[in-house]
Symmetry: C2
Subunit: 451 residues, 2 copies
């Protein structure tokens, strides 16, 4: 009764954790269904992993990412404190590696899986960056060797999905880490990993920033830094990158191998419209575990927006657990990132507020059981049906159906033998109908048959 | 190179966090599809909420549950420490209440939503109790009043789902908190909430434990405790509970109302086979927020296993945020709990290890492009197709298809104009086939047409 007791905590949206209204969620669900259908159409199986992994596993593979990890603790700690130290996963690749290592003997290789799950990162929220987001990953892991055909098939699958989602023009930028590493070694750089990390920031800090980083942090001669920049600036929509790299005059076996692999991938992707696939020698990817092909996808209409899909080939991520050679290659679609952007830009028309196709009205004085029988009969035929549960005035019931975007309202026969009627909410037409034969989409005659 | 560097952390399963092999996940996915289809066939819309809520929101509604809450903290805290204090949700009802309060003006009431998501509890793992689990909830929330028809429709929907999942015989036990509260007040108990909490433990601590709790902890006279026990022991598969409660000689308006409501729900559920729906006056539900109908479902074949679905009516959970009256009623299916039990009991036959219907072989010396064209053509027809990506010996390719349970293997024409062939892996028969017209399920003739 006191004021203190009545104090109301008005909940606020938690920044960085997106949440959609039903009419938007319905569209997101359609997206998820389409993504799943395409993944499965290429024979990838679904797995899910726990939301958490042991902290040791996450940190070992995370490179720079460890400060972004959310660990769990029980709000009220008690005696039972031999619980494992766990944290939410920040991607689906590290959990996949752990999964394959743990279930190695029960899996058939090449192991092709897709995984659609949430991931979490303790980032400062900003456009395109969320603390919780949904990722859609496909990866192939095999014993000893993963066919290079997968390096081409995977971006082709991702492109097919992006087309089906109608996200607008996209660019899939591809590089190969062996080109970077081979080139860097060829010009005398020893700390290749640090050099790659600096060049990877080209988008963010620009030419001058990268040059300064290479010269000042790594102590490289100016002309070596310039060579790195010259390589990073090569971007061709076809195999032209090979000659342009050759023209820089650097030679190394690893470089040759990288160029061959990237050209192979390009040749295999020749069925994709010109301009989508780009050899982009600035792409490096932040995670250390990539060893070959690397990918980054962009929305062409929003060039400053972060990449919408990414991935690459990793040779040592999985096998390390088992002292085996288990290379892999995969890509991840940043579903939340794409969806949130297109939604914000008004490019995603919301769906209806509910999946109902037919609402069965419940008019005052009518038999409830008759309405229930109609609903059951329509549902039996695979139609999505809801019953209005209170015998309110017909106006209130129609208003409800209209506000929820329900396409048909059914008026059960007021007495045994009298006809049922159905109203098409978009045309306003109402006509007699038989629950045993009527189906949504059937035209509703223009005249009311009875009142 | 040092030994320290090569030390391998061999990952272990994290206790309480279930994870399935692909062939089991495939069955779980079928379950999820069926659950979603039934929810939607009754017009419920999908929502998802973030995995986290503000701690204040969770604790306020959690009753006893707060010690089970997992809070998040960044592994490496830094300067940006004005992040909201959040924790993983332990159910989907509290997030729903917060969602409705936050989006009140954008929702149409009655708001009927389903929500299939993971939830987390810091429990000691044991049979049927997980730290991370998937729940499938439906709820209705309305302004001022939720029709009592929903109290019957919701368990009917849940029953339909359990039937479709073929989980075996189930019991849906129903009670009404008003019966408990009205009866308790009628026999002079003032601390009704504490009395309900004690009686709720009947299953765990037995008659004597409950009696002792009521007498010793609450200081109730022995005959009052006996009355509570007599009420809790009423269990009828029909409306017989009314007379049995009346026979105990207690009268109160609230008790009458509870009995009327429960009888109404029973009458509405008369189409469900006898013995499934039980009036069970021992059911109370742990959470404080229930105010009317309460539900608990059991697997009849595993009577000591915890409840597989539960829920109830709550009048004050949502509206409190808005100073409005927004009652609700809903139920939750403990998907992980049911699935894990039936799996353990060998009652869930695993599916195939992948969704592939046709594997296109890649034989040594053959044209890769021809195989790709076949795969694309079959996929165009809606068939799930994977390509074998390395020109290994045919034996290795067949073994792969057999181990993954792929029903058909396609051998592309070895040269233009030669016939394609398809092998039915279950019958072993192989015959010529045209990628433009062949479909899975087409019988494969018994004789090889060409070699």
């Amino acid at each position: 009764m006191s004021d203190t007791k009545q104090r109301i905590h008005r909940p606020q949206p938690v920044t960085g954790y997106p949440e959609w209204l039903p009419e938007v969620r319905l569209v997101e669900q359609r997206w998820l269904d389409r993504i799943r259908a395409v993944f499965e159409s290429y024979g990838f199986c679904s797995i899910e992993t726990p939301s958490v992994e042991e902290i040791e596993v996450l940190v070992a593979k995370g490179g720079d990412a460890d400060k972004e990890i959310y660990a769990l603790h029980r709000l009220q700690e008690d005696q039972r404190d031999n619980e494992p130290r766990v944290a939410l996963h920040y991607d689906l690749t590290v959990p996949l590696a752990r999964y394959v290592a743990m279930h190695y003997n029960d899996l058939v290789f090449p192991f092709k899986r897709y995984q659609i799950q949430r991931a979490w990162r303790g980032e400062r929220p900003q456009e395109g960056r969320f603390r919780e987001f949904c990722q859609c990953d496909i990866d192939v892991i095999d014993n000893e060797k993963v066919s290079l055909h997968f390096d081409a098939e995977i971006p082709a699958i991702i492109y097919e999905i992006l087309q089906r989602l109608e996200v607008g023009a996209v660019g899939l930028h591809i590089n190969n880490r062996k080109i970077l590493e081979g080139f860097y070694r060829g010009i005398g750089i020893t700390d290749v990993v640090s050099a790659i990390r600096i060049v990877d920031k080209l988008d963010k800090i620009g030419r001058d920033g990268v040059r300064r980083g290479l010269v000042e942090s790594l102590g490289l001669p100016g002309e070596v830094a310039d060579s790195c920049l010259a390589l990073a600036e090569i971007r061709t929509p076809d195999g032209g990158f090979v000659d342009r790299v050759r023209a820089l005059g650097v030679r190394s076996e690893l470089l040759d191998q990288g160029l061959d692999e990237l050209r192979f991938v390009f040749d295999e992707l020749s069925h994709i419209p010109h301009g989508v696939i780009m050899a982009d020698l600035s792409i490096a990817r932040g995670f250390d575990y990539y060893t070959g092909t690397v990918y980054e996808g962009k929305l062409r209409d929003f060039p400053t927006y972060p990449s919408i899909c990414s991935g690459g080939r990793y040779d040592n991520l999985v096998g390390a657990y088992l002292r085996k050679n288990l290379p892999g290659v995969g890509m991840s679609i940043g579903l939340t990132r794409i969806f949130a952007k297109l939604l914000k830009e008004g490019l995603i028309p919301p769906g209806p507020k509910c999946p109902t196709e037919v609402m069965v009205a419940f008019l005052p004085g009518h038999e409830r059981a008759a309405a229930a029988a109609v609903a059951a009969s329509l549902r039996q035929a695979g139609i999505r049906v809801e019953m209005y549960h209170e015998p309110k005035k017909v106006d209130a019931q129609m208003r409800y159906a209209a506000r929820k975007g329900i396409p048909y309202v059914w008026f059960p026969a007021p007495s045994p033998g009298a006809p049922h009627e159905v109203k098409d909410m978009s045309s306003g037409q109402q006509a007699a109908a038989d629950p045993a034969t009527w189906r949504p989409g059937t035209s509703v005659a223009s005249e009311r048959v009875s009142g």
